[in-house]
Amino acid sequence: MIEVLKAGMYSTIQDTGRAGFRRYGIPPGGVMDAEAAALANRLVGNGRHAPLLECLLEGPALAFHAPAWVALTGADMQPLLAGVSAPMFCSFFVEAGETLVLGRAVAGRCTYLALSGGIRAKRHFGSCATYPLAKLGGLKGLPLERGDVLHPAASSPVRLRRAEPKIYPSAGDVTEVPFKPGPEWELLPEEARAFFLSRTFTLSASSNRAGFYFEEQIPLQQPLPERISSPTAPGCLQWTGGGQLILLMPDGPTVGGYHRAAWLSPENLWKVAQLPPGARIRFYISPSHSL
């Protein structure tokens, strides 16, 4: 078993999410950066749907009371194992009695910690993804707390595996993100669209697993009219009536009344999920003609 000595900022058990229950208002949930999460699972020999730990901005401290193979991917939280620097993007063995401590992310946002065999968690609506609003999945449907205990779901033999490390942006860095025009793109005032395309937008510290917010607003001559509530999805970039941008993430609402200006491909959504507060985005219309 593994004891949580420090919870970190927002550490949750996640998997690839749930499907089929949006009609009841249950969002898909699941990992924010599916690429980094799948890699962590692969490094310890798990399938891609195995539950693992997602840690945002600052990670937990974990005391291992039994040995385990572990892999860390995503944002570098300068992990220390028994006081010594532990590798990222590489499976490693933890002895019983050792403590793994994650700090603050030096760049990026999401770190994935996979245990060989997966992490035992509650399954609701076909997934172990933690969704605190309805207390679904995870340990008690909530983020980790000090004193919680994690159990590997199964033990499986692993050999050392490594992958190419990935570097993520920091506050201040500008990332270019292509988008597809959303259902209401054409309804937005032309000068507002031009402003949107010509500026960079800074990720706000209030961003969370439901939505990413930005510090800058779109100036509008008059507020956008309220729309009759209609479906939304992760990756939808909404404009509120007042010109605030909200990028919906996996735990976002299933329906909403804001203008759906744009949407991002999964690969671009994973890329944005790794941007920390203060990182900047320049959006441009995707030149690809896949749709």
Partner: protein, 256 residues
Amino acid sequence: MEKNISIKALSFDALLVEFEQRIAPEILWQVLALEQLVQEHLPKGIRETLPAYASLAVFYEPSFWAFAKLKSAVLDLLPLLPKTASHLPSGRRQAKGKKQMKVKSWEVPVCYGGSLGPDLRQMAEERGVSEERLVEWHSDRPYSVYMLGFMPGFVYLGEPDERLHQPRRSKPRARVAAGSVAIGGRQTGIYALAGPAGWNIIGRTPVELFQLREENPSPFRPGDVLRFVPISKREFEAQQALWQAGRHPLQKQWYD
């Protein structure tokens, strides 16, 4: 009918069908009829469908469907929509998994006002009427369930008496109890879970509107009809105890 319908991409794996953008039973009926057609005629490569007031999202497997292919398949279904429908389906609807379902009519007990409905008093004062009169206005008619969503189990209901229309609170509450019955603009609805809320809370139902079970996490479906029945605080507490003991005394009648 088809000329009022448009099809767009909502995301990389979702197609959005939009009907005439207004809140009306005949529009909802079209949405639900198309959802049924999609489930019956396009069984492969569809992950889930999500009906809303005047739109339907179809979530699909991008490895199975290209957007343009699915769009043309959905366009082919539009002529099969009923040409006239002035009311909700009164017969059977096909649910996912080929199970026969009926539209249901429900009685939902509500204790209005007081600590369970903290905004009722001010709404009554602003209108210069008694709280009892407001309760009468709210509970004197059947409401259609238009949509579940935004958060798990939240029930969006059709329009209340226009004398009850009330703008959302400028300062949302950080937390309201599960079962809170609310008015937001021209809509009324029920918060199924405790959480932040911007609508005006006029009462609370002891009914548990969201349960951790895969079959029917919510008792309601779009198209169902429900009616609010005022109950006293004492009755509220008695019914709440029944729910907490695992009994489910929600009254329903079948529509024929």
